[in-house]
């Protein structure tokens, strides 16, 4: 038995949270708590990097698998990673320390409790991406609601109660049907172990209904049009660190779920429902881009842009082409970095001016140049400029889409243009133009920690933009295998 590296990834944040729980809460800037949390998450990040290094890229089978009896003769606690999930784990462990550094200014009261919530959230997120048993997956997937509800509700903005409730109830409503589906799968096949289910396959006559049940949960979480309305509310009201976690990682759970479960377990149904996904994705891309164009609140704009970007992701996944799925995964990773960075940049000016309205700003370039440069980089990455990671993802997705369905691909390409429009317009209104607002003259440029975290995010965005090979090499074999399995399943039916 090897060292249970995945379980320690899941457990370490909880241990850190427990430790914090027994320290005394101080008013104001609680440095001890911050250092403890930061230390825990950085160690976790290093472990995940070690995981990536020792990960064998030449096989698609699950690695670092742990399999323990959990409920006698029924459910096993089974975790493991393949090329697809490992990237999400690294994304989670990478984003969390950044969130923790960023809480400096945005969280004023009860810092210790906030950090505990973030740490617990991290462990649930890692759990979601490691789980190789449907019940274990569901457990982590749902458990994440509790800390996120508290993060939005306690530390959020003015309409935080409404947003927290909306977030919680929407996602819960979506998920309960998935629970019914999971239990049904158990009774149909006799197991909830994903690896075994890949081998056994699920009877065709059940697939459509089960697929829809899983879809109801993932669609809310992604979020897809028309059930996306919780996202702008949750994003706007959540504190910056909460928005970052939400955009960077929580949304990816659903995309990951689509790849791992919807495609893997229900190949026939995925084929059947591809038109549905295409339609919803295209609507999401065009419709929410247009909405984003009209927003006056910066956070809301980025929130709608997230919906549009996730539309690309779902589109790419269901092209069922190698490029499409690889593109989706890279797009998710890239969007995780970019949206996190954008929320942090908005957070920077919000902490200084206490306004998220675009009209408050204008002409920032002349007072805070460093900020403006980094903001530009992230805005360009978000619209998918070549040389940033956003480009690789969108390009691959569109390539996959053109192979599969020309019309859909054309409409989606229009979405790319719209994406450029709202992002550049936002940047123009905030950064360029005349400096009208007198208060802005006294605004300070990035301080050290802000500069540090934004550079940390900028580095991988640029690096993977020019050299995406590490990402593609990691996922390639797993995706190829997934497609082969899918095609052989289709052929045998």
């Amino acid at each position: 038995m090897n060292f249970p590296i995945l379980s320690s990834l899941i457990l370490l944040p909880i241990v850190g949270a427990l430790f914090l729980f027994f320290t005394k809460d101080k008013e104001g800037n609680n440095l001890t708590a911050k250092y403890v949390a930061l230390f825990t998450t950085v160690v976790n990040f290093l472990i995940s990097i070690y995981l990536w290094i020792s990960f064998d890229q030449s096989t698609s089978s699950f690695q670092f698998v742990e399999d323990r009896v959990w409920i006698e003769g029924f459910i096993n606690y089974k975790v493991g990673v393949d090329g697809i999930s490992i990237l999400f784990i690294i994304l989670s462990t990478f984003i969390t320390p950044i969130c923790i550094i960023s809480v400096n200014n945005s969280v004023k009261n009860r810092l210790r409790d906030f950090l505990i919530a973030i740490l617990i959230m991290e462990s649930f997120m890692i759990g979601v991406f490691c789980a190789l048993d449907l019940v274990v997956f569901y457990l982590f997937f749902e458990a994440g609601l509790i800390p996120m509800f508290l993060i939005i509700g306690i530390w959020g903005g003015a309409r935080r109660v409404y947003s927290a409730f909306k977030f919680f109830l929407y996602t819960l409503l979506g998920s309960v049907l998935m629970l019914v589906a999971i239990i049904s799968i158990y009774w149909i096949t006799g197991t909830t172990d994903v690896v075994q289910l890949y081998e056994i396959g699920i009877d065709v006559k059940y697939q459509n209904l089960l697929w829809l049940a899983f879809f109801s949960s993932f669609a809310v979480k992604t979020p897809m049009w028309p059930v996306h309305t919780w996202l702008p509310d949750a994003h706007v009201e959540a504190p910056t660190a909460g928005s970052v976690l939400l955009a960077a990682i929580l949304l990816k759970m659903a995309g990951y779920g689509f790849i791992r479960f919807s495609l893997g377990l229900f190949p026939i149904a995925s084929e059947v429902f591809t038109p549905l996904i295409y339609t919803l994705s295209v609507i999401a891309i065009i419709f929410t881009s247009l909405i984003a164009l009209m927003q006056e609140d910066m956070k809301k704009l980025i929130a709608y842009s997230s919906v549009a970007h996730m539309g690309f992701v779902t589109l790419g996944i269901f092209t069922l082409q190698q490029q499409g799925i690889e593109g989706s995964i890279i797009q998710m990773i890239s969007h995780g970095l970019v949206s996190a960075a954008l929320f942090l940049t908005v957070g920077v000016v919000y902490d200084r001016m206490h306004s998220r309205l675009i009209s408050t700003y204008g002409g920032l370039v002349s007072v805070i140049p460093k900020y403006s440069i980094l903001f530009m980089l992230f805005a360009l990455a978000s619209l998918g400029l070549p040389g940033t990671s956003g480009f690789i993802g969108e390009f691959l997705i569109l390539m996959g889409a053109f192979k599969d369905n020309f019309l859909v691909a054309v409409i989606a390409s229009i979405g790319v243009i719209l994406g450029a429009a709202y992002m550049l317009w936002l940047y123009k209104r905030v950064v360029f133009g005349k400096l009208i607002n007198e208060d802005l003259k006294k605004i300070l440029d990035l301080n050290r920690s802000e500069y540090f975290i934004l550079s940390c995010l900028a580095a991988p965005i640029l690096f993977f933009g020019f050299y995406p090979d590490p990402l593609i090499n990691t996922i390639e074999v797993s995706v190829t295998d997934l497609i082969n399995m899918h095609n052989s399943n289709i052929a045998s039916k």
């Binding site: 509800f149 509700g153 109830l169 049907l177």
Partner: protein
């Protein structure tokens, strides 16, 4: 000669009750000693139950009118533990209201005795006797704070409605006896077949009577008023212990005498279950009093328990028992929190009194957070597993409608639990509450919260204990 060791727990508890009564009459200021002795009585009874009956797979006594099997011994132990905990955390509450008298533990003991008789009954008459014994004690307990108008009102309401339901039950029993020619469950089971048209009336009457006792919709009307009016510790008793006993009787009736009539009763149970789940969830939204809210939430929890029973399978019965056991723990924890809302000898029971609790009482709020999320059925807390097992059993029988309705009503229910959490965590704080709680209260709260929180680490143990129960 019968093996009297099997009913030793009942014999012991009856003798103790008599002794305690005599002690109370002859000794002045004996309330404290009565309390302590009652606790020991329950403890010893539980030990005897474990020793004498736990390994028995199935034995009958007294012309097969009493049955000792794994179901009865497990449920007796849960009942005893529940009774013990209620008694243990009652004393400070009773002292505050100056009703710390010898009658309280004795009434609790006698109702426990009644429940134990009910749980073991294998005969209509024995069952009815146990039922009345526990009910009479409960009527008095409901009015126990007799100087308060609400308590007396609660007792009266409970008495009238419960007597009515007992009447219905008895009528049902007499019909069943008329058709089968016997009061013994096993004989009834062999005699009955679904051809008898009027027999359905008997079954319906019995089920209605039992539904009253567990307050399933549409026979729930008494619960909110009685729960609100009774002293809080008695409410705690009401929400836990009689439900365990009534549920056991429910299981017995459905799966022993009426086993061959599944077609007749399955629809009724499914209806009771769905109605309770939905009504309990919806009606709780508008409540302002915590005890009334708990009443509605207990109605919806009973709905889930009944969903397990509706499956007509061993797994279903086992899942119901797991559900009720976990529910008992969650409920106990919730009431411990309620009993801690005390400021200068006054207890607060409005939801608005919880406002901003997390600022002044972080640990208590954290416990409430765990308990409420668990009641809402959010993983990885114990409440989720309770629902999970029930729905596994329900879906095994392909009862998709029941499962989907049940799970959707958990979303509605989540709303009102979230509302309380919102009030505790998001709202403005009020004055501090007293913190000098009795050690037992703190202990019970801590242990039950930890059980709820960490149940997911060792879920197999409870299943193992319960899986010995094979009725069908």
């Amino acid at each position: 000669m019968e093996n009297l060791n099997l009913v030793l727990p009942e014999i012991f508890i009856s003798l103790s009750i008599m002794f305690l009564l005599v002690l109370g009459v002859f000794k002045k200021d004996s309330s404290k000693i009565t309390f302590i002795l009652s606790l020991f009585t329950i403890l010893i009874t539980a030990i005897i139950t474990i020793n004498e009956t736990f390994s028995v797979s199935r034995e009958t006594l007294f012309n097969e009118s009493v049955v000792i099997d794994s179901l009865s011994s497990l449920m007796k132990i849960i009942t005893l533990v529940g009774g013990f905990l209620v008694l243990v955390i009652s004393s400070s509450y009773l002292k505050t209201f100056k009703i710390y008298n010898i009658e309280y533990p004795i009434l609790i003991l006698s109702s426990i005795l009644g429940m134990m008789v009910m749980i073991s009954s294998n005969d209509l008459i024995v069952f009815y006797m146990g039922l009345e014994l526990q009910s009479l004690a409960l009527y008095v307990l409901a009015t126990y704070n007799r100087d308060q108008l609400k308590s007396s009102e609660a007792g009266l309401k409970y008495f009238v409605l419960s007597a009515l339901s007992s009447g219905l039950l008895l009528y049902g029993c007499s019909l069943v006896y008329g058709f089968s020619g016997s009061t013994n469950f096993d004989i009834i089971s062999n005699q009955l077949n679904s051809n008898e048209y009027f027999l359905t009336f008997g079954i319906v009457f019995i089920l209605v009577g039992l539904a009253f006792k567990i307050s399933a919709v549409p026979f729930h009307m008494w619960a909110p008023d009685v729960y609100e009016g009774s002293p809080t510790t008695v409410t705690l008793f009401f929400t836990m212990v009689p439900k365990i006993a009534a549920l056991t009787v429910f299981i017995r009736f459905l799966y022993v005498p009426f086993l061959n009539l599944i077609d007749q009763w399955q629809m009724i149970i499914v209806f009771l279950s769905i109605a309770s789940m939905i009504f309990g969830a919806v009606a709780a939204i508008g409540q302002t009093n915590i005890k009334r809210l708990i009443a509605y939430s207990s109605i919806s929890h009973i709905g889930y328990t009944l969903a397990g029973l509706a499956t007509a399978s061993n797994e279903g019965i086992q899942s119901s028992i797991i559900y009720i056991s976990i529910y008992v723990v969650m409920n106990l924890a919730l009431f411990c929190c309620l009993l801690m809302l005390r400021r200068k000898d006054q207890y607060y029971e409005d939801i608005s009194d919880l406002s901003g609790l997390s600022k002044n009482h972080p640990i208590l709020s954290l416990c409430l957070l765990v308990i409420l999320f668990s009641l809402a059925g959010i993983p990885p807390l114990a409440g989720f597993f309770a629902k999970f097992y029930v729905f596994i059993a329900v879906l095994e029988q392909s009862m998709y409608f029941l499962a989907i309705v049940g799970l959707l009503s958990t979303v509605v229910a989540a709303f009102y639990y979230l509302r309380i959490i919102k009030i505790i965590y998001f709202d403005k704080e009020k004055d501090k509450y007293d913190t000098d709680h009795s050690l037992w209260l703190k202990f019970s709260l801590t242990v039950s919260t930890i059980l709820i929180l960490l149940y997911f680490i060792f879920p197999s143990q409870l299943i193992e204990v319960v899986s010995r129960i094979n009725i069908i």
